[in-house]
Every structure is written in C-alpha cells, then in structure tokens.
Subunit: 329 residues, 2 copies
C-alpha cells in the first residue's frame, strides 16, 4: 500500500454499498447526504502533534486555529457554509492544561468569526502526542462542487498564493525568531491557516464552476486529484503563480526558486478549480470587486490523465504529485 | 484538573455561546441541532489502541465492531436512529494492512446490519498506536431524551446485564484461551459491544420516559451523571441487577461478588433511564412482548445530588462513581 489514497480506495471496497441517501460519499473534500428534503455537507480531519504541527514552532492558539481552518477549508472546497463542529481530543500523558486551553481559545476565535457552533466532542488518552479530530457539518452549495467535474476547455483558476505555508515551516525550522519577525505572513500561513469560506460560497453559487478542491496536500497533488477524478489532462503555467514579497525573500535565503514550494508545499488552503472561459470573465470581475485574489493558472487540455507544467519557454514537462502523503512520514 | 468531565466543562466555557440552532450542545451522549425545519443528532467517540483495546485480546473485526457500537450506543442513548458515519483513522508506524482491513470488515458488518452509510473519513499518522474516531449523524427522537430529565418519583430502569464487559476483559487478561472457550458471551460483550438501538428508538417514542443515558463508563458513574444533571438523589437496589450464568461463574473464578463488575465495569452499552411508574407498566409489557430484557433497579428519591445503594438488608450506603475516568489511565 503506497499511499493514503490507495488505502482509502481499498477500505471503501470493504464497506457496504452506500444508500440512495448519499449524494457524494468517500473520496472528495466532504460528503453530501440527503436529510429528508434538505442536504448536509460533512467532513472530518485530524491534526496530530509531531506530524502536522510541532509545539516548538506553534503556539497553542495557532494549533487550535489551524485545526479548525483545515476542516473549514474542506467545506469551502465544496462551496459550502460551515455550521456545526464536534471535536475529538486525544491527550498525551504530559498534557498541559494551559496548552489545551490556549488551543481552545484559537478554536473559539475561528468559530466565533465564522459563525460555527461547537456542539460536542470527546476526550481520550493518546499517551505520546496530542490528537485533534474535528468534524464539521455545513450547508452545501446548490449543486455539488466535486473534484471530478472538470471539463475539457475549462480554465484552471487558483485563489491567492501557494507554497507560503511550506516556506513558513522551513523558516521556522531553521531560524524561528527571525521567521516570526521578518516573515510574519509566511509563518501565519503555516501556523494558523485560513479557510477561503467566502470565496467557496461565491463559487458554490456559480453553475458554470465545474470542479473545485482545496490546496491542502500541495498544488501538484491537488492537480493530480482533479486530473484523475475528472479524467482529464491539465496544463499549468509556472509564471502564472503569484509570488509574494515574503516568498521571494525566503527563496533568496534558501537559494532556490519559489517554484518548489509552490508546487509541493501543502496546507495553503487556497481554492483550485475549473470553469468555462466565458464564466471566468464574470467570476474574475466579481472577485476583483470583492478584492478576492484569484487568477487563471492553466487549462484543461484534453481527456486522459496527466498534469503538465508549461515553463517560460513554452516547453511542457510532466509534473509528478510532489505533495504530502499522509502515510509516508 | 481531576477528570475528563471537569476539563470538558472548562473548555466549554472558553468556546463562544452556542446559537439558537443548537437544541442540546456539549455534555450529553449526543448533540441535537436544528437543520432548517429538521433536527440532527450527532456524536463523536474514539477508540485508542492500548487504552480502549489491546490487539493481544481483540481480533481486528472485533475492534471495528466495538468502535462502531460505542458510537451507535450514544445515538441509542438519545432515542435516535443512526444514519451516517465518518471515520478518522490514525495509523501507527507498524500498521498492518490485514488488521486495518479486518477492522473495516467489522465496521462494515455493523453498518450493514444497522443501515448506516459510511460517507467519509480521514487517514493520518499516529506513530505509536492505532486511533479510530467515529462521528455518527442520526435522526433524533421526537423529544430530547437528556440525562438531565429525571424527576422525583420516577423509577430507574436498566436494560439487560451490566458488568459483563469488564468481567470479559479480566478473563481475557488472565486466561485468554479459556475465556473465549468458556465465557463467549462475556468476551463478546467486551470485544464487540452491542448498541441498544431498537430499545433506544422505542424509548424515544415514549413521552413519559424522562431521562436516558448509556452505560459506557460504568453503572455507578452513569447514575452519578443522571443525578448531577437532573439534580436528584437516586437509590438502586443491588439485588435487582441481573446476574448471568457466565458472570456468576466468573465471579467464582475470581472469588469476588459480581457486584464490583456490575457497579464499576464500563462498556456494556446498556440503556439506563427513568420514567413515571405508570408509564413503566406499559413500557415493561411492550419490552416483554418484544423480548427486550429491561428491569426496574431503583427510584429517583428526592431533589439533590447523590447515589445510594440499598443492600439486601435495606440499609442505604452512598455509592461513589467507580467507573472509567478517561484521563486517569
């Protein structure tokens, strides 16, 4: 079993077939189920000490914010509106009440801002490390914004900037004090995250947005998810990716192109999707008027499966999935 | 912070106030939220290797069944009907695909029997031990069957037998082969569990059932939960607790009264509740005709807070909460 995704596929086969009440089951950012005449969007995600965060670099409130944002991002990736959350905690032997309270203050801040009610949870022991799983329930978009809906001829859009969380982590690891002083945005991208809920809901109202996914595993990996799920080949242009001033400076420090972070770094929680080129014009204008940064970074070239990077000279090179594999660490 | 319950209370205070959409939030077996004109019951629970189960004594499919049953029991304790589940897994470094698949076969069996759709999940690393959290969504009863509804004068009823899971574990620990051969029921009570969903739904339809809780932390602890939440003193009679033939035999082996297991043993997933004595007659008849074992074990004596055990000679002695504290292990 090489990857998380193969294991999920295998385990899915062992489960009973889903009922007609399930509109979208295992395999996307969130599930959509029918509840009488209504529909519910639901998702679960976990943050594990030493795997997804390190107390050496992260303050307790930041861990709480990130745990919540990672989950809310899965709702945003379906064009939904988050409403309720449940929290399953695993406390290590050496747990520290101030840390846990700090984490909850971070959770509370995000929930307060986003109008999410924490309605339940569970506390267990997990002797070696803190575990936090959050389940979120939300209102789905009118349609279902799956990763499998990309159509040949669509433009590929991406919100904001990617690679920043990964650069933030690398800076924190090598020089934590300087990182917080000189690269506050990159650090915050990594330590807190930010879910694109407003943009997700805006996209959820556009019938011509054909597919959507959030960038949690890294851009190249997400492009592969879109490609495989939609059975299309996608081409992106490296020079269409925005590079922030801080990312530019970080790339100088590490003597490398920002592109490595942009293609392989995870946890940026930006939204990646596809729509027809006509609807892009309208969408772009609307986002501009709302000051939401979003840009076309490529196109859905043809049926098939593959991800290609068009470099500055117009040359196409195959782009492997460079991002996060949850089972490789 | 002495216990899980104090910590939950503290963390709850840090969260924003819940909105009017939440009918019942943190603190009961499951939460009830409004979803447009409908209502949803939701709960999360975790099973952790080495804390809640041990591969030495438990087969993979049993772990899967127990993880599911523990969650379904929280839905039963609210009189609800389970519908959808999400599973968050944490895989240790030394994970074994056969074990995980076996566990999913157990999950699949319970979900198939109970008509529950597994609609999503998440896989992470948890290097030292397997972690499994399950979130369940269900249809609530017409009313809300809280642990806080017990009324003075109510009878206290308990389904089936308790203490069996704890005895099963003790047998497995001391003589695993003999345990499986000679005490198959006790072993199954511990290794698989069984959620009282039919009974829960039946109780959920009775307007005169005033309170309900499932016996997951141990009878004495659950009585204390009822007592504190309802602000009443409760009295139970030791001789009203059923003792199965296997529990009787186990108590001989360990030279002790079955009462210790019955009062302190957790994970039996029976239902404990209160109702008026008139409605008990109807309820009892109905359960008898459906062959659901249920019995009156005591009464809600007066306002206050306290749990008392009436022994064979009619003497009352205070009963402390002897059950499981999730933070003491």
């Amino acid at each position: 079993m090489k990857s998380e995704f193969e294991l999920i596929e295998r385990l899915k086969q062992l489960l009973p077939p889903i009922s007609s009440q399930v509109e979208l089951g295992i395999g996307d950012d969130a599930a959509t189920v029918h509840w009488n005449e209504k529909r519910i969007l639901t998702t679960v995600d976990s943050l594990v000490e030493g795997i997804h965060f390190d107390w050496k670099f992260c303050r307790p409130s930041e861990v709480g914010k990130k745990a919540m944002n990672a989950n809310l991002s899965d709702i945003a990736a379906m064009g939904g509106k988050p409403r309720f959350a449940l929290i399953a905690l695993g406390l290590p032997i050496s747990w520290d009440q101030e840390k846990i309270e700090g984490m909850y203050r971070g959770i509370a801040e995000v929930c307060g801002e986003r109008g999410v009610d924490v309605v339940g949870g569970n506390i267990s022991r997990n002797p070696e490390r803190l575990w936090i799983s959050i389940t979120v329930l939300g209102d789905p978009a009118n349609g279902v914004l799956k990763r499998s809906g990309a159509q040949v001829g669509d433009v590929i859009f991406l919100s904001g900037t990617v690679g920043e969380a990964a650069a933030g982590l690398e800076l924190l690891r090598s020089q934590p004090e300087r990182a917080r002083q000189q690269f506050p945005n990159l650090v915050r991208r990594y330590t807190e995250g930010h879910a694109q809920i407003e943009l997700g809901q805006l996209l959820g109202k556009k019938p011509k947005v054909h597919s959507l996914i959030d960038v949690s595993d890294g851009l190249s990996s997400e492009l592969w998810h879109l490609s495989k799920a939609s059975q299309v080949e996608v081409v992106i242009q490296a020079n269409q990716l925005w590079v922030s001033e801080e990312l530019q400076r970080a790339s100088v420090i590490f003597s490398q192109s920002p592109l490595r972070w942009q293609l392989s770094g995870g946890e940026d929680y930006e939204l990646l999707g596809t729509c027809s080129s006509e609807s892009w014009k309208v969408l772009h204008q609307e986002c501009e008027s709302l000051k939401i940064p979003i840009r076309v970074i490529g196109e859905v070239a043809r049926a098939g499966a593959g991800v290609y990077l068009k470099n500055e000279s117009g040359h196409l090179e195959p782009l492997p999935a460079l991002g996060w594999n949850h089972l490789s660490t």
